[in-house]
Symmetry: C2
Subunit: 225 residues, 2 copies
């Protein structure tokens, strides 16, 4: 058994939840809102942010903090099903795309849309700035264009298989979709890719997430959106 | 033989250069300034940023982009000397600290100091904003405090061994040190740790870096700083 401290609409926590489900690893989930009780997380992760995994092994607790280290840890300790398949070059390509979403998408889209619509509201920091939202949506379109370009030659973002690259991208995109900001109608290729991922049993718990006072957009849990 | 596209005062490129040296992998280095000729890099990395490694294997070129994927690739393909030693939990701790520097230190220190003093100047975007520099230096002190706390119980940042965590931290810190912004006198514990790393033969090429018109601070290459 293991514990995961997470926040439901956090793209990094979501990556870990998806992989735990894909690997069939039973986990007790505990929600922590990073801005309400950082001290809970600070005991485990000096950055004070989710996700944090506590793995109980041989009577001892292993504390693993941050999404990337947790994902690599799960690959090393539970290699089947393998989420980083292929040779070293293919794995590097999957990791490149994970980096792309965790640093580039996070800085260019989440920092605008999630921050303005979700973090500011839940922390009582005022209403979203329309100019910032516009910029975030422009960046999102650019990212969706880039994903289209990748998916025109590949079934998965990093190659023919479903890998951590798809999981990272879907986790990030799913948070923006929760807010209703993804213009699916204009990006058919990405929509079909996301539809396939949304249908996976591992994705179901994410579709049931609802944050009090902050309902998802109507089509959010719909497999035929 | 392999090729590395890098930029000398880029903390991400520096991590890769350090590991290539530690592993004794002969590499031809090619400097690309990200803002002058992104198209060179765009052929290999859609983000248009260094580092990019071209590994020539069996008559074929493997293109590996971005620091983290390159470092994991080098661990997989050249496991000795091992830069991610220990069991899965120890490796996770090293990766957590790499994340800390690549995302947190990068956003809280580099985005202020390197951007204001280096990127703005080299791109002709005006002179540094003193308020931004002050904020960057405050963040840096906080990070040095945090490193002190870690190093008071450990020889290396992630445990008893020298790992990718130390390499990531030293690469980031060395760029800020190039600009003369590290208050070494106030942080003896971190200074001793950095001194040990600076003495490693793998570090020497970094100490010889000089960017035209932008000399490093006087003590930069000094092992007794």
């Amino acid at each position: 058994m293991r514990h995961l401290y997470h926040w439901p609409i956090d793209p990094f926590s979501r990556q870990v939840r998806l992989v735990l489900e894909e690997k069939g690893l039973k986990t007790e989930l505990e929600i922590t809102t990073p801005w309400d009780n950082p001290e809970v997380l600070m005991n485990y992760n000096p950055a004070g942010t989710p996700p944090v995994l506590i793995d109980h092994v041989g009577g001892q607790d292993r504390v693993i903090a941050e999404a990337r280290p947790i994902l690599e840890y799960l690959e090393e300790t539970t290699p089947t099903p393998c989420m980083l398949p292929g040779g070293p070059a293919e794995r590097a390509e999957a990791r490149r795309i994970m980096d792309w979403f965790d640093r580039k998408f996070d800085g260019e889209v989440n920092a605008y849309l999630l921050h303005e619509k979700l973090e500011k509201r839940l922390q009582g920091l005022g209403s979203p700035d329309p100019a910032v939202l516009r910029a975030g949506r422009d960046h999102l379109r650019w990212h969706l264009d880039h994903m289209t370009w990748l998916l025109e030659t590949r079934d998965g973002l990093a190659g023919s298989r479903y890998t951590l690259a798809d999981i990272a991208a879907a986790a990030h995109l799913s948070c923006v979709d929760y807010l209703g900001d993804v213009p699916w109608g204009e990006f058919e290729t990405v929509k079909h890719w996301y539809q396939r991922i949304k249908c996976r049993p591992a994705f179901r718990p994410l579709l049931e997430d609802k944050w009090p006072g902050m309902n998802p957009v109507e089509h959010y849990a719909d497999l035929d959106f």
